[in-house]
Amino acid sequence: MEFVLDFLSRLITQFQSPTLGFLIGGMLVAALGSNLKIPNAIYQFIVFMLLMKIGISGGIEIRQADLSAMLLPALSSIVIGIAIVLLGSFVFSLIPSVKREDGIATAGLFGAVSASTLAAAIVLLEEESILFEAWVPALYPFMDIPALILAIVLANIHLRKTSAGKESKVDVAGIVKESLRSSALSALILGLALGLFTRPDRVLETFYEPLFRGFLSILLLVMGMEAYARLNELRRVAHWYAVYAFFAPIMHGLMAFGLGYIAHLATGFSPGGVILLAVIAASNSDISGPPTLRAAIPSANPSAYIGASTSVGTPVSIAVCIPLFIALAQVVFEL
């Protein structure tokens, strides 16, 4: 009961957090038909800056980190990514009105990871002064890539069964390569490498860090505008996508919270790290996942998986999951 009250009061505070405010502001701006626009060049640069900052910080920390402490969380990430896709594909397979490959693609996107949700969680943890290992955000690809690959493999197995015609082999190495080459993962990995192999502390402190919070606010504005804009597409597909997109992030996050808790007990994984891991799991890819899926499962309907993810999944993971997992951690770890 107390937990519920704590969570509710936290949720109300959260609605006053500018982080969420910018997201909702973006939705309203779009809903009211405003001509406000953030230029595409700015948007792309902001995503780059956020991922570079996450990468550089992570790289610097990994340099000094006890690598064994990273093992369990990294393994958990892979397991979660795979579990989400299997689970989601299974759930969608039970719904007759959902085309098989559309369901698999959607599950793949929810297994993958969102940079904007991750960045929002980082800022909110800092606001609550909850510490975490700076390498945790670097778990991103450990969940993202296996999830996307598995979804593509499953879809192709399905398509081969139905249309014996095309003899397409799934090129796993090719998919990994394409994922790593995507602009989002490239920026993250470039940042990691710079953090690991050079001494970028000063440029991090004077440039990438101070701009992080502000750029995130604008990114959330864009995500909000996009969420509203894609609602139309979501409306044209089965409403089951919206239902899944609402509940799945919460489930996935709780699953990851559990695994993170085990890592906490086993290797002292920090409470902040557990929260971040849960948020990574709850998040769904909004930038690099969609084109990867579109290219690899061309017959899946992008309106279904992008609508579900951008219009419902991302707002839910930012507005509901982040405060939920913070509240949960405060109770569980007695912060």
Partner: protein, 109 residues
């Protein structure tokens, strides 16, 4: 200089498959092509412009133009692109008569 008949094939489709389309053009023997960023509306009812922030940039449109000397080559390009992509991806293609200078420029050696 005198003018020579040639054909211009135009393909309007999603940016993300532009690489694949260009490979088809080159495989068919085109000596070059021109790409322009575009927005638009079609049967899939999505407007795409590349100027405003769009979370997924690859879904904007491009307009690809290729001048070929030979109408058969132009038709081959259209057929192959439509065959390979237009079941799953949005797109249209058309061909126009044009007149060019320097026809040798558009022929493979």
């Amino acid at each position: 200089m005198t003018l020579h008949r040639a054909e211009k094939v135009v393909i309007i489709t999603e940016k993300m498959i532009s690489r694949g389309v260009c490979e088809i053009l080159e495989a068919c023997g085109a000596t070059g092509y021109t790409i322009v960023a575009a927005g638009g509306k079609g049967s899939r009812n999505i407007r795409m412009t590349s100027e405003r922030a769009s979370v997924i940039d690859e879904f904007a449109n491009v307009k690809i133009e290729v001048i070929v000397n030979d109408k058969a080559m132009g038709e081959a390009i259209m057929d192959q692109v439509a065959e390979k992509y237009f079941a799953d991806y949005p797109g249209i293609t058309y061909i126009e008569d044009v007149q060019i200078l320097r026809p040798a420029k558009f022929e493979h050696d």
